[in-house]
Symmetry: D4
Subunit: 178 residues, 8 copies
C-alpha cells in the first residue's frame, strides 16, 4: 500500500473536447497540483480528432496513466469513446452548454451496459480530480492522508464561516461578503 508518485510521470490525464472547456477544467489541474499528483492536460476531440482519441485511449494504460478525466459539452462523447478503448477508470465531466448542461450530462452518464463512465456534476471539474485522487489513494497512503486533511480543511472552512456568521449576525456577514 505505498506506491510513491514520481513527480515527473503523469498518472492522471485530463482531456477536454475543446479549449473553451479550459476555464472550467483548470479546477481539475489546480486540485491535482494541490495534492501533488502529476498529470497531463490536453485537448482531444472524439469528433474532430477521432484517430488521435483512439490512439490516446489505447495507449494510456501503457504510458502509466491510471485515471482519465474527460470533459465535453453538448453531445459529449469523449468520455464514452475513451472508456470503450481502455480498461482504466474514466471520469466524465459534463460541461455546461446550450441546453443548460442536461445534454452533456445525459450524453456522458447514460452509458450502455459494459462500458462505465464515472460521471460527476455539470462543470464538476474539481470533484473529478478529487475522485481521481480517491482512486489513486487506494495504493498510496500519503494521498489518503492528504484526502483526510482536505476533508478536515473543508470542514474547518465551513466551521469558521459558521462561527463568523453566528457571531456577527447575517447582516454584518453579508456586508463583509461584498
Amino acid at each position: 500500500m505505498n506506491k510513491k508518485l514520481n513527480s515527473k510521470k503523469p498518472v492522471v490525464s485530463i482531456i477536454m473536447g475543446s479549449d473553451s472547456d479550459l476555464p472550467i477544467m483548470k479546477s481539475s489541474a489546480e486540485i491535482l497540483d494541490q495534492f501533488g499528483v502529476p498529470y497531463e492536460i490536453t485537448v482531444l476531440s472524439a469528433h474532430r480528432t477521432p484517430e488521435k482519441a483512439v490512439e490516446y485511449a489505447k495507449g494510456a494504460r501503457d504510458r502509466g496513466i491510471q485515471v482519465v478525466v474527460a470533459a465535453a459539452g453538448g453531445a459529449a462523447h469523449l468520455a464514452g469513446v475513451v472508456a470503450a478503448l481502455t480498461t482504466l477508470p474514466v471520469i466524465g465531466v459534463p460541461i455546461k452548454s446550450n441546453l443548460n448542461g442536461l445534454d452533456s450530462l445525459l450524453s456522458i452518464v447514460q452509458m450502455p451496459e459494459g462500458i462505465p463512465v464515472a460521471t460527476v456534476a455539470v462543470n464538476g471539474a474539481g470533484n473529478a480530480a478529487l475522485l481521481a485522487i480517491r482512486i489513486l489513494s487506494l495504493a498510496n497512503s500519503e494521498l489518503q492522508k492528504k484526502l483526510e486533511d482536505y476533508r478536515l480543511s473543508l470542514k474547518n472552512k465551513v466551521m469558521s464561516k459558521a462561527e463568523k456568521l453566528e457571531k456577527e449576525g447575517y447582516k454584518a456577514y453579508l456586508e463583509n461578503l461584498k
Copy 2:
C-alpha cells in the same frame, strides 16, 4: 440526374448499437425495401466494437455507401462517432430508453460545430429511411418519382380515412377500429 441503383450493391447502411434496436429499426429496412433501395443492415457499437466502428466508418464511402443510418439509445454515440470518420451524410435515430428517449435524442442531436448528424424523431426509423431516400433522389429521378407517389399515398390514406370518418360518424368509426 439519373444514377441507376444496382439492386445488389447497398447504398444505404443501417447500423444499430444493439440487436435490441432491431424491432424499431426494421421500419428503416421495410421502407428501403418498398422503395427498392439496396441496403446493408448490421449491429455495430461505438462502445463494444469501437475498432470495427472506426474501420466501418472510414471504409463506407469507398464501399459505395451513400447514406448511413445509425441508431442507438441512452448515451447514443454511434451516429456521432461514425460522422466524425466519414464525409457521408449520417442520419441518427434516437432509440427510446430508460429516460424516455430524451437522453438518446440529446446525445445524437447536440453535436458540436464541425460534425453534423441528421437527427430524426425518437424511434423514427421509418423517417430515417425516407430521409435517406430524399438524399438519394437528388441523383435518381426514379426515386424522386417514388417519393412523390409515396406522398400521394400518405395523402390518400388520410383522405380516405377522413371520408370514412365523415361518413360513418366517430362512433361507428371507433367501433370499427377495434
Copy 3:
C-alpha cells in the same frame, strides 16, 4: 459523380422564420461561402407568410434547389411545413428561444412518420450547412475533397491547440486566451 456547381445558381436554400434568427443563421451562409456552394437566403414564415411558404416549398426542386435549411424558434413549424411539400431533403435548425430551445428542438425533430426533417443541434447553423454539403458531395467529388480538407483543418486546429496547451501549461494558455 461529377456534377459541377454553377457559381450563380443556388443549390442550397436557407430560410428562417424571422430576421432575428439571422445572427445565428449567418454561420450557415459563411460555411457555404467557404465551400463555394451557391445558396439563396431569405425570411419565410410558416405562420406569417404561409402561402409564400407553400409556394416556395413546392417550387424549390424545380428551381434547382437541392437542400433546404430551415431555421425557426419556439413552436418551430417551418421545416416540417416545407418538408411536407417537397421531396428534397430538409434540414431543420432549432433556434434558441424562451424555453432554452427545447421547444424549438422538439417541434422540429419529432416529425410524424412519413415526413422527415434532418434536425441539427440548437443554434447549429454551421452544422446545417455542413450537412447540406455532405449531401451535395455525393454527386460532387470536389466538395467531397473540400470536406476532407475541412475535417483535416478541424483536426489541425485541435492538434495545434493541444500542442500549445501541452507546451505552455494551462496557466499560460488561459492567460493568452483572455
Copy 4:
C-alpha cells in the same frame, strides 16, 4: 345576444392529425353532443395533406365554422398551420406521444407573436370542446345557461362524492370503487 344554433350546420370543426387520435378526441365530440352544438369531425394532416389543410383553413370561416379544435401529437403543427390561415379562434389539443406529450404541448403552445393558438392540457379533448362552447356562449344565452348547469353538475358530482366519502369512510369508499 341570441344567435340560435341551427342543428344541422356545424359551428365547431374538430380536426385531428391522425385517426389514432380519435379515441382521445371523441371526448370533444361527446361534449359538443351533450351541449347540442353542431360540429364536423375529420382527419386532416399538416404534413400528409398540407394542401387540404390550407384549403380547409381558408374556407372554414366562410363555411360557418366559428371555432376550430385541432389535435396532433409529436411535432404537432396542425393547430398552428390552421391558425395561420384563418382569423377564427383555434384551439390546440396536444396528444400524448413518444416523449410523454411534452413535445406535442410545446409544439402547439409556443407559437410566435402574431398567430395565437389556444392550447389546452395534454389529451384535454373534453376541455377543448368546453372552451369552444364558452366562446360560442358569448353570442348564445342558451349555451351560457347550459355551461352554468354543467358547472353545477360538476360541483354536484364532487359534492355527492364528498358526502359519500365522509359518510362511508375511505375504506368502504375504496372498496366500492373497485
Copy 5:
C-alpha cells in the same frame, strides 16, 4: 354579426398576479389599443387577494366582460381560479419565472377536465390579446376585417424583410440591424 364596440365599456379584462408582470403584459394592452378594443387592466392575485379574485370572476360576465386574459408566473393559479368561477373564455399567459417558465406553463395549461384555460406561449402577452380579438371577431365584422389587415401587415413585414435580405445580402443586412 355586427356587435359594435362601445369605446368606453371594456370587453376584455387583463389581470395579472403581480405588477412585476406588467412589462410583459403591456403587449396585451398595446394590441388591444391598436385594434380599438376597450379593456380594463389590473392586478389581482389568486393567493394574495383571493376574495377579490372570486368576486371579480363571478361578476365579470355581468359587467360586460367577454374575454379574460390572466397572467401569472410560478405556481400560476390565477387563470384556473378565475375560469372556475365564470363561464367566459379565459386566456392564460404563463410568465417566465425561476424555472424558465415551465412551471408557469404547466400550472396554467394542465387544467383538469371541466374547466378549460386557453393557454398561450410563455410571455405570450401579445398573442393573448390577438386570441381575445379572434373570439370577439365572431360577432364583430369590423374586428374580423382588422384581423385580416393585421395578418396582411405581418406578411408584408416579413416580405419586405425578405426582399431587403435578398437584395442586400446577409452581411449588409446584419450590419444594418445593429
Copy 6:
C-alpha cells in the same frame, strides 16, 4: 407541552381534488390512524367546487383543524388556494398525472412569496401525514414519542432486512421476495 388529542375531533384535514386520488391518499389516512390522530377526509376541488373550497379554507382553523393535507394532480391549485385563505400550515401532495407528476409538483411547490405550501414528494401521501404529525408533536409529547418509535421501527425493518440479506445472500433473498 401536552395538548391531548380528543379522539373524536379532527385536527388534520385531508382533502383531495378528485376521488380518483383516494387510492394514493389512503396512505395519509392509514398513517394518521396508526398514530391515533383524528382526521377528516373529503373531496374538494379548487376548480369544480370553488366556493366550497373557499368556505372550507376559511373555516378550517375555527373548526379545530390544525394541519391541512391537500392533494391534486395536473394544474394542481387546491393546496395553494386553501393556503391563501387560512393561516394554518398546508401540506401539498402532488398526484402523479399525465406528465409524470412534474406538472403537479411544480403547480404546488412554486408558490409565490407570501403564501407557502409545504410540498412533499409526488404521490407522497404517507409522508404528508408524517409531516402533519411532526407539526402536531410540537404540542403533544405522546405524538413525539410515537414518532420516535416509528423511526425506530423504520430502522428495525431496514436492519432486519439487512441482516436477512447478509445471511441468506442476494440470490436466496430475491427468491423469497417473489
Copy 7:
C-alpha cells in the same frame, strides 16, 4: 393556546449548506425578525460537516428548536439528512443552481416514505419562514394574529397597486416603475 416566545431563545433554526446561500436565505431571517420570532442562523453542510450535522440534528429538539429551515443547492441533501435525525418538522429550501434549481428541488422534495421534508419553491426563503411561523402559530395566538395582519398587508399592497394601475393607466404606471 398561548405559548409565549422568549425573545432570546431561538425556536427556528435556519441552516444552509454554504454561505453562498446567504443572499437568498437572509429573506428567512428578515421575515422571522419582522414577526418577532427568535431564530438561530448558521452554515452546516451534510457533506462537508457531516458529524456536526448529525449532532446538530439530534440535539435540535432538546435545545428548544421547533422548526428547522434547511437550504441547499445541487444534490441538496441537508434537509433530508437532518429530517432523518429529528422528529421536528424540517422545511427544505432548494437553492437555484447549475441546472436551474430542478436538481435542488428534486433532491429535497422526493424523499422516501418515512422521512418527510416540507419543501418550498426554488429560492423560496421567505415562504420557508412563513411556513415555520404558520406552524408556530398553532400554539401562539399572537403569531396567528400577526399572520392575519401579514395576509392583510399582502392584500392591501396588491389592492393599492391595482388601484394605482387602474387610475394611472399602464403606461404611466410602467413609467413610474423605472
Copy 8:
C-alpha cells in the same frame, strides 16, 4: 502491481437504500461474482438508518473495503452521505423512480465541490460493478486481464450478432428473437 484478492475478504461494498432496489442491484453482484471479486451486499438507508450509515461509512476503509457502490432512488442521498464520511471512491447508482429516474440521477450526480460521487446510468448496476473493477484493476493485473477479456467478449457477442443478422437478414433474425 499485484495485489491478490483474498477470496473471503470483501473489497467492494454494495449498499442500497431499500431491498426493493435488489432486483436491479443483483447485476452488480453478478458481475463481481463473474470477475471473482469478493464483496459484501446489504441494505442501508441514509434516512431510515442514518447512524448505521455513518458508522458504516467511517469504518469501510479500515474494514478493507476499497470501493463502495451505493444505490438509491428518488431524493437519493445515500451515495453522497457515505462519500462525505470516507475517502474511498464511492459509485452512485440512480434507481428508476416516480419521476423516471431523473430525480435519482440529479440527487446523486450534482454533488457540491469537495465530495465527489462517481455516478453511472439510471439502473446502471452492472456498470457500477465494472467501474469498481476498473478501479481495483489498477493494483491487480489479473483483474486487468479479465477486463480485457470481458471487453473482448462484449465485442465478440456484438460481432456474432452482426454476422448472424447479416447472414439471415433482419426478418429471420427478428423471427428468431421471439
